[in-house]
Symmetry: C2
Amino acid sequence: MSLPHALLTSLLERPCSGLDLASRFERSIGHFWQASHQQIYKELGRLEAAGWVSSAPAEGGRGRKRLYQVLPAGRRELERWVQDVQDANPLRDELMVRLRAEAALGPTGVSNDLRHRLDQHRSKLALYREIEARDFSAAELSRERRLQYLVLQAGIMHETHWMTFCEQALSLLAELHAAPAED
Amino acid sequence: MSLPHALLTSLLERPCSGLDLASRFERSIGHFWQASHQQIYKELGRLEAAGWVSSAPAEGGRGRKRLYQVLPAGRRELERWVQDVQDANPLRDELMVRLRAEAALGPTGVSNDLRHRLDQHRSKLALYREIEARDFSAAELSRERRLQYLVLQAGIMHETHWMTFCEQALSLLAELHAAPAED
DNA sequence: ACAACCATGTAAGTAGTTACATGATTTA
DNA sequence: TAAATCATGTAACTACTTACATGGTTGT
């Protein structure tokens, strides 16, 4: 449950409204922790009730727009949380279930899924590479930038890793199809 | 939502009871799709209601033990599902949020988490290597075995990848700690 | 005035987790 | 006969998703 802390982090970088948060999320932390605007609004309500953020009607914006800011208690909570220890994410992927099903059933059609994923990983990787070139290509990066870059590198590794896997899986399936059932 | 299909796959490999499924899950498909026994029982109920599996009181076992088997309709459903296409898993990891928080807050204590995860990835990898040596070291593997091995290889890649990342993160943090705040 | 869109929500539902309940069978 | 453990569940809760609702602002 790290959405509240993801929001605190993002608001700490720059105070803004709920919808701003939602759209910035999509371009930044949201690559690593997704959230819909509904979820964000609900969570902002909780954060305010907990005394971790304050909100005020925004002047620049229109309608009911509110500006959220992290309060000292929110910053302390984030500092506390960063030191928490959590178990590693187990691998949990429908594709693995599909492959096991394909193993049990005989030749069916996982390659659909594999090709689809390969495309998605490719374009995600291209996006990350753009961000890398735009934001992290300077010779000297600040401490903050270097850590943000580290997170982006995790994303790059993730996409690269799964692209490789999909390719490997596709070539195994092709080989099995070419020389079927030897057992 | 692939638990029903994970259960169908596992039952197809070998019919068994709910608790057997739960424990086999932990050693096999459960490495890639986790489920508690409560969830499994509930899902088995649904599978039976849908006419995808049948159940009968088990003779060998004790108490209320029931033996579950995949029906033809269940097999057809699994064949249909394998050909579905699903979006690639986005990276979604609390650790990334922690690192972004560390970037925004200044030096705190993510290294706790990193060391903890590194340990877990190491032991998971060791387990996978054992399984690899035990089940997949033969010169010639059947089609089914080769596909199962592919899935295991995904697990090995996953653990290796994240071990590397944790090490990289720890060394960056050490470097930043040694030569602090140049911006 | 009307469409488009900015901004904030409510409502209903699902998957999954955690804690607890219950009965039946071995084993000490 | 009591403890352990096998086996199957119920109940309550949380995070998250999907679909829908509402009102204010800007542009035409």
